[in-house]
C-alpha cells in the first residue's frame, strides 16, 4: 500500500492538505488524466497507476475507467507501453477469477468480472479494437490482447463468439497467431482457440478451414506426441472441440488424411514398462483415444462411421490400438478407454470385427484376445470400469455381424470340435452361473447380443446342452436359465436373465415353446408380474416379467398345449388384469435407468448397482411394447388366418399413430420453446439493465465516500435482491427451455428409430407375404396393399412436416 501511495503521489502530485484522498477520488483523478491529458507521458503514467490499482480496486477502476481505457486502445495505439497498461487493466477488471488482493473485500460481488465484461462488449466495436491489436507484433501487447480475449470469452462465451463471427477475418486473425514463433503466445493462443470453438459449429469450421489440423499436428509432433507436455493436451483438446458433433469437420479430417497422422500418437515404445507412464502422458493418450472415438461415435452418421472405420483399419490404427491392449504396463484407465475405443472402431464393420477376432494375445498359452478380454469380464478382481468396457467391446464385436454371432453360439454346440481350449461360449456360461452377480449380468447381456435380430442363432442356441452334474442328464441352456431365474435371489441376475430370455423368445416361436415347456417358468412370471411391491427397482422385475409373459402370448404358435395363445392370455387377464399389465410395462419405460440405458449403446454406469437394463434391450422393449399390449388386449378366440401378417399390420398402424402423436408433440414443444426463448430474451434484457445500474450505483457509493450513505446501501440491497430474483427467474426459464430442448431431441430420436423400424417392418412384411404366397396361402389383395398404404402415408406425413424433417439414415 505504501508503494501504491508513493506511486500515486508521483503521478498526482502531493495532496495539498494533509488529508488522504479516498480511493474513488484517486481513481477519478487518474481516469481524468488518462483521458484528458495532452502529454503522452502523463496518460501513460496514469494508465500504469490504474493498472496497479485495478486488482485491489477493480470496482472503482472499472466503473469509472472502462470507457477511458477503451478509448486509449483506439487513440494511443501507437504507444505499445500505454496500450499494454490499458489492456492489462481491462483484463484485471473483467477477470473471471478473484484476486488475492480482493479477499478481504467481501462486498465485491463474485461475478463482477462478468458484469464488466457485459458492459465492455455492449459495444461490439470494443472487441474489434482488441482484435486489431492482435496485428501488433510487440510481444507484450499481443500477449495481453490474447489474454483479454480469453477472459471475456470465459465470461461470455456465446456473446463473444457471435461478435467475433461477425467481424471480418476475426477467427482467421487468431489462427494466424498459432504460427507465432514465441511459444508463450502460441500456447496462449491455443487456450484462446479452445474457448472460442466450444460449442460453435461455424467457428469450428472456419478454424478447420484455416488449416488448424495441420498446425496442430505439427505442434504435437514437434513436442514428441504423447510424450509431450501439456501443450500436446491443449492441441488435442482443440481438435476434439473441432470434431465433436461436427460432421463437416469430421469429413474434412477424414478426407485430409489426418487419420493417418494420428498413428504415431499410439506408438508404445518397447521399453514403456520400465519407463512408466507420466501423468501427462496418461492424459495425452486419453485425449487421443477420445479423438478416435469422436470420429466413429455411434451418434455420427453411418456413412461417416463406416468410412472412418475403414481408414482406421487400412492405415494400421486399429492394429496400433490392439497393440496397446496387449502391451504390458499400460495404466488401467488407459487400457479401459482403449477397449472402449477398439469397440467403436469395429462396431458394425465386418472386416474390423473379423480382424479383432483374429488378434492373438501374447499370453501363455497364446489365446485369442477376445478370450482374454472375456476372462477379465467375468473376473471379480478386475476394475468395474474395465469389465464394463469389455462388455461394450464385445457387443460391438457382435453388432450386426451374423458370423461373429454364429461363431459364439457354435462354441456351445455339442458338435464343437475343439474341446481342449477355452471358448468364449464356455466363459460366458461359466459367468452366467457363477456366484458373482456382476458376472451373471455381464455374461447374460453378452450372450444376448449373439441372438439379437438373428433368428438362426436363436434356434441354434436351443440346441445348447449343459452337463450340470456328472452322470445326470444334460439340461438345455434355456431350461437352465429358467431354473436359475427361479433360484437366484439377486435382482440384478434376475433382470439379466429376463432380458436374455426376452431377446431369445422375441420373434422366435420355437424358443417360446421351449420356455413354456420349462418347469416353473410361467408361474414365476405370473407371480412377479402380479406382485405389488413398490420398491423402485423391484418394479423393473415386475415389468420385465410381464414383458416376457406377453412375448410368450404374442409369438405363441400353440404348440405347447398347456399354454396356448388364448390360454395364456386368459391366464394373464385373470391373474394380473389388463390394466395392471399395461401399467407394469409403462413402469419400465418410465424408469430412470431405462432412459439412461436407452441413450447410448455404451453403458455409462457409475457404480455396479446401476447395471440393470442395457441399450439393445431398451430398443427391443420400445419396439414390442405396443404390439404386445395389442396382442394381450385382443378378444380371445379370434384367431386370424395370417397371424404374422396381422401382427405386422397392427404394428404399422400403431407406429403410424405413434408417429402422428410424436409429430404433434413436437409441434407443441417447438412452440413452447419459442415462447420460452422470447421470455428469456426479455428477462435477460431487463436483467442486464438492472445489473449495469447496480454496478454504477455501487461505484457511486464508492466515490461519495464511506460516510453514512444509508439510502444508497438500502437501494443497493434492493437492487441486489431484484437482480437475484431476476436471475432466478432467468435460470428457471433457461432450465425449462433446456428441458423442452431435451424432450425435442428425444422425440427426434424416437421418430428416427420409428422410421428405421418402419422400414424394417416393411421388408419383413414383404418377406412374410412372399412366404405366405410360397406356402400356397392365398393372400388376398386387400392384405397385400394395405400395409404399404399405411407406410407411404406415414412417409408423406414426414415430408409434409418440413420443419422437423428427420432424414432417415441412408
Amino acid at each position: 500500500m505504501d508503494f501504491l501511495k508513493s506511486g500515486l503521489k508521483t503521478v498526482l502530485g502531493a495532496p495539498e492538505t494533509g488529508q488522504q484522498p479516498s480511493v474513488a477520488e484517486t481513481v477519478e483523478r487518474l481516469v481524468e488524466r488518462a483521458s484528458n491529458s495532452t502529454l503522452l507521458e502523463d496518460r501513460r503514467d496514469a494508465c500504469r497507476a490504474l493498472k496497479a490499482m485495478s486488482r485491489k480496486y477493480r470496482l472503482e477502476v472499472g466503473a469509472q475507467g472502462l470507457d477511458t481505457l477503451r478509448q486509449i486502445l483506439e487513440l494511443d495505439r501507437a504507444d505499445n507501453e500505454t496500450v499494454n497498461y490499458a489492456l492489462d487493466t481491462l483484463n484485471n477488471i473483467v477477470s473471471p477469477s478473484q484476486f488475492e488482493e480482493e479477499e478481504d473485500k467481501p462486498h465485491i460481488p463474485m461475478n463482477i468480472g462478468d458484469q464488466f465484461t457485459e458492459m465492455f462488449i455492449k459495444d461490439p466495436h470494443n472487441i474489434q479494437l482488441v482484435l486489431d491489436l492482435l496485428d501488433e507484433y510487440d510481444f507484450r501487447v499481443r500477449l495481453s490482447a490474447v489474454q483479454l480475449l480469453v477472459s471475456v470469452l470465459t465470461n461470455r462465451t456465446k456473446d463473444i463468439q457471435e461478435i467475433i463471427l461477425d467481424k471480418p477475418m476475426g477467427v482467421s486473425k487468431m489462427m494466424d497467431l498459432l504460427a507465432d514463433t514465441r511459444e508463450v503466445i502460441r500456447n496462449e493462443t491455443l487456450l484462446l482457440l479452445i474457448k472460442l470453438t466450444k460449442g460453435n459449429a461455424n467457428i469450428q469450421k472456419i478454424v478447420a478451414f484455416e488449416n488448424a489440423f495441420d498446425r496442430l499436428f505439427e505442434i504435437v509432433s514437434s513436442e514428441g506426441y504423447s510424450d509431450g507436455g501439456i501443450i500436446v493436451e491443449d492441441c488435442l483438446l482443440l481438435m476434439l472441440n473441432l470434431l465433436k458433433n461436427n460432421s463437416s469437420n469430421i469429413n474434412f479430417f477424414k478426407e485430409g488424411s489426418y487419420i493417418q497422422k494420428m498413428l504415431p500418437m499410439f506408438n508404445i515404445p518397447e521399453n514403456s514398462e520400465e519407463v512408466g507412464w507420466s501423468s501427462q502422458k496418461v492424459v495425452n493418450v486419453h485425449c487421443m483415444l477420445q479423438l478416435v472415438r469422436t470420429l466413429v461415435s455411434p451418434s455420427n452418421s453411418i456413412q461417416i462411421i463406416s468410412s472412418c472405420q475403414k481408414i482406421m483399419k487400412n492405415v494400421g490404427l486399429l492394429d496400433a490400438l490392439c497393440n496397446i491392449l496387449m502391451a504390458s504396463g499400460v495404466p488401467a484407465d488407459i487400457l479401459t478407454e482403449t477397449i472402449n475405443t477398439v469397440g467403436e472402431v469395429v462396431r458394425g464393420d465386418a472386416t474390423n470385427q473379423e480382424f479383432i477376432g483374429n488378434v492373438i494375445a501374447p499370453s501363455y498359452p497364446p489365446r485369442p484376445a477376445i478370450i482374454v478380454l472375456l476372462m477379465s469380464m467375468v473376473n471379480e478382481k478386475q476394475p468395474f470400469a474395465l469389465r464394463c468396457a469389455v462388455l461394450y467391446c464385445f457387443q460391438c464385436y457382435l453388432y450386426h455381424n451374423e458370423i461373429s454371432q454364429s461363431n459364439l453360439v457354435q462354441t456351445l454346440l455339442p458338435s464343437s470340435s475343439d474341446v481342449s481350449s477355452l471358448t468364449s461360449g464356455q466363459i460366458l456360461c461359466g459367468g452366467l452361473f457363477s456366484s458373482d452377480v456382476l458376472s451373471n449380468w455381464f455374461s447374460a447381456v453378452a450372450l444376448k447380443h449373439a441372438l439379437i435380430d438373428n433368428l438362426t442363432q436363436k434356434e441354434q442356441a436351443l440346441r445348447v446342452l449343459l452337463a450340470t452334474n456328472i452322470g445326470s442328464t444334460p439340461v438345455s441352456l434355456l431350461h437352465q436359465c429358467t431354473l436359475l431365474l427361479q433360484q437366484t435371489t439377486k435382482l440384478q441376475s434376475k433382470v439379466a436373465l429376463l432380458m436374455l430370455l426376452s431377446t431369445w423368445t422375441a420373434g422366435c416361436p420355437p424358443a417360446v415353446a421351449a420356455f413354456l415347456g420349462a418347469p416353473g417358468g410361467v408361474p414365476l412370471l405370473v407371480h412377479h408380474a402380479g406382485s405389488n411391491e413398490h420398491d423402485d427397482n423391484e418394479c423393473l422385475l415386475q415389468g420385465l416379467s410381464a414383458f416376457l409373459l406377453a412375448i410368450c402370448i404374442h409369438f405363441n404358435d400353440d404348440s405347447v398345449a398347456s399354454y396356448s395363445r388364448d390360454g395364456l392370455r386368459q391366464l394373464l387377464v385373470k391373474r394380473i388384469g389388463v390394466e395392471t399389465f399395461v401399467a407394469k410395462l409403462s413402469d419400465v419405460s418410465r424408469h430412470e435407468l431405462y432412459n439412461k440405458a436407452a441413450k447410448h449403446p455404451q453403458m455409462r454406469a457409475a457404480s455396479p448397482a446401476d447395471l440393470l437394463l442395457d441399450y439393445e434391450f431398451c430398443k427391443l422393449f420400445k419396439s414390442l411394447e405396443g404390439p404386445l399390449i395389442e396382442s394381450v388386449c385382443q378378444t380371445p378366440g379370434r384367431s386370424s388366418p395370417e397371424p404374422q401378417l396381422e401382427q405386422y399390420k397392427s404394428l404399422i398402424r400403431q407406429q403410424d399413430a405413434r408417429l402422428q402423436e410424436l409429430v404433434q408433440q413436437l409441434e407443441t414443444v417447438t412452440a413452447h420453446a419459442q415462447q420460452l426463448q422470447s421470455a428469456l430474451n426479455d428477462s435477460q434484457a431487463a436483467n442486464s439493465l438492472l445489473r449495469d445500474e447496480n454496478t454504477l450505483l455501487k461505484a457511486q457509493v464508492g466515490s461519495s465516500g464511506t460516510d453514512g450513505t444509508h439510502e444508497h446501501e438500502e437501494r443497493i440491497r434492493q437492487l441486489t435482491e431484484e437482480v437475484r430474483r431476476m436471475k432466478e427467474e432467468l435460470e428457471g426459464a433457461r432450465r425449462s427451455q433446456e428441458r423442452s430442448r431435451e424432450e425435442l431431441d428425444k422425440m427426434r430420436r424416437d421418430q428416427n428409430d420409428l422410421l428405421e423400424l418402419l422400414d424394417d417392418q416393411d421388408v419383413k412384411l414383404n418377406e412374410y407375404k412372399m412366404r405366405l404366397i410360397n406356402l400356397g396361402q392365398a393372400v388376398d389383395e386387400d392384405n397385400v396393399v394395405e400395409p404399404e398404404d399405411n407406410l407411404s402415408s406415414v412417409n408423406n406425413k414426414i415430408v409434409d412436416g418440413k420443419d422437423y424433417i428427420v432424414t432417415p439414415p441412408l
Binding site: 463471427l165 459449429a201 469450421k205 472456419i206 478451414f209 478426407e255 485430409g256 487400412n314
Partner: protein
Amino acid sequence: MLLFSGVGKSCLLLQFTDKRFQPVHDLTIGVEFGARMITIDGKQIKLQIWDTAGQEAFRSITRSYYRGAAGALLVYDITRRDTFNHLTTWLEDARQHSNSNMVIMLIGNKSDLESRREVKKEEGEAFAREHGLVFMETSAKTAANVEEAFINTAKEIYEKIQEGVFDINNEANGIKIGPQHGGAGSGGGAPGAGGAPPGGCC
C-alpha cells in the same frame, strides 16, 4: 440478400461428390465440406470443396472462406433474373477478400428448366467475358456439365500452379502437396488411401 439462396450450390456439390440429386431445398447453415478425387494430367488430385450458405445472415461467416481458397464457383439460377443481377456485388466481395489469383468460374445453374429461363445464355457469356471469368451452364438435376465445371476449375488452378503463379509452399492459397511417392500400390482413387497429391480447393 436472400437472392442467392436456392440457386443450387449444395445440389451441384452433391451431384459432383455423390452423383445424386436432392429435390428438397435443404438450406445450408454456414458451410458444409465435401471432397472428391480427380485426375488431371495423369496426377491424382483431391479437391476440397466448401459449400457456402447463400442467405444473407451467413454472409460474414462465408466471407471467412475466401482467403485461403484457390478457386471459386460463382453460381446463379438461370430461372431467376434477380440472382443474375446481383453477380457484380458478389464478385466484388469475392475479389476484395480473396487471393488475387483465385480462379473464378461463373455457373448458370438449372439449365434443365429451359421453359422457365429468365437469363439468356449469351448474357452469362457476356458477363463472364467482361469480368474475365470462365462460364458454363449446368444442371445439378441432370448432371449436365457438373463434372466439367469442377474439373475445369481445378485444371485452371493446376495450370496456374504449373506457371508458378501460386506459391505452393504457402498454405494460405489453399493448395497442399502430398507425398509424391504415396498411393502407388493401394489404388489411390479411394479417399484416404495412399498419399494426397496436389490438392485444390474451391
